[in-house]
Amino acid sequence: MTHRNDRTLSVGALARVEGEGAMYVKVTGRDVEEVRLDIYEPPRFFEAMLRGRAYTEPPDITARICGICPVAYQMSACAAIEDACGVRVEGQLAALRRLLYCGEWIESHALHIYLLHAPDFLGYPSAVAMARDHRAIMERGLALKKAGNAIVELLGGRAIHPINVRVGGFYRVPARAELAPLAATLRAARDQALATVEWVAGFDFPELTLEHEMLATSVPGTYAIERGDLRTGGGLGFPVAAFEDHVVEEQVPHSTALHARLDGALYLTGPLARYELNGQWLSPPAREAAAAAGLGERCRNPFRSVVVRAVEVLYTVDEALRLISAYEPPSRPYVEVPPRAGTGYGVTEAPRGTLFHRYDLAADGTIEAAVIVPPTSQNQAAIEADLRAFVQARIDLDDESLTARCEQAIRNYDPCISCSTHFLELTVDRR
């Protein structure tokens, strides 16, 4: 007689400002029947709120969507609005935007690596427990994160919800001398970043191989961050204006959330996609560090995304130093962006993946429609598919171990909800 064994792993309500979510895994006998990730979607609220507002407001307003990646929201908003108005921001203003964005990457990745993901790999229940045993390592992580903060505070005005960014550029740009202390901080951060790559490369990585399509922002010759068009792992390239032709959000059974598909396929955005598609344009030191960490030309194990994030920290520290050394203050802190009727599109690489904005503007600049497609909702379908395979391969683990492994696996994608240290609540239903 077969003993029927139903297990249900459900994720309780999450209390988190940046997003709330829940995860549900149902196992019947030895088969994973259902995996569902419910993610609370703040952008819907912000899209509605933006309608009727002035075209100058989205950088400020959308920055409030996420305390961890406000710069990403600002940069995608600016790119889309400037596109609608037919203005391109170039030269040192564009370089300052990239520098600001480097700060956010350093900050966000350091937080994710040290406070969220490393404790999983090293078998600690929390960052606090890890800090008690590995104080020097945690100090290094916080120092690295602080270097990112310093960039965001100097250019953005303050570290969360930066207020110095505006459509067309900045309210105020720094003098060269103001960047000098930042360069000193970043030179120290460079060693910390390299040590981080070496450290995470030594973790044990569970086996899991992704076959998904990949999507990343692309600017040939550059590791794209603050602007670009789109490119896929299959070799397809398309302009940002065609994003909504290729990425379609669909209703799926068992979920209230929409699932994004890229030309009908499951796909992933974020560090693994960027590394695969743009890795050739990383700086030589970052490429060397990646090779020494065993990454190869591409990386399809999502657990190794922690290594890619560490390489991206090293890259953005280097890139920030390069941008600072080449900096000449622009004659004006912003370019004029006169409003006009039209639609504009913007895409940038948030630390956790591609972030798309579209705005429809009236002739006076009033926003008639706003569309925001964040990386976490794009990745949702792939995360669910990966977890399904992951759980199926570990079906014999006890509930506690399985839950811990699922938490670790979800953090591979650095979803907004990953800030919650524990979000799997296990309920066992055996029949």
Binding site: A15, V17, I68, A127, M138, L142, K145, I160, H161
Partner: protein, 154 residues
Amino acid sequence: MTTPRARGPVVIIGVGNEYRRDDGVGPRVLELLGDPPGVRLAVCDGEPARLIGLWEDAGLAVVVDAVRGDRPGRIHELDLDSVGGHHGNPSSHALGLEAAVELAAALERLPGRLAIVAVEAADFRLGAGLSPPVAAALPALAARVARLAGVSPG
């Protein structure tokens, strides 16, 4: 744990997000306090590394945050001894104040003295504006924070 140490600046930190209704109570209190002389005011999303950065050099840190509870508007005053080590997290920020306090303790980066003023919230949904009971508690909350920080309300 609340041993005062060498004098340092006083910082008042409002934790929260103004677009999550009652979660915005911390930042709102800061607005009410105006610009008191000799005191640093900071809004924070509650992320532990940022909180630690804001208070590590302070002689006194007063943190105001929204918490979950069954009596919206009720005000609690906590100190180091009453935060941390709980199984459940009272803060509205899952990786938030409690983790920050514990992490700071492990790394010896607590302020000289830490006072936490928490108000029970009714509504953490997306949207602007406080719920009536939390809005009604604002004056008392601001007065409490001001008294703890040694300033007069603005």
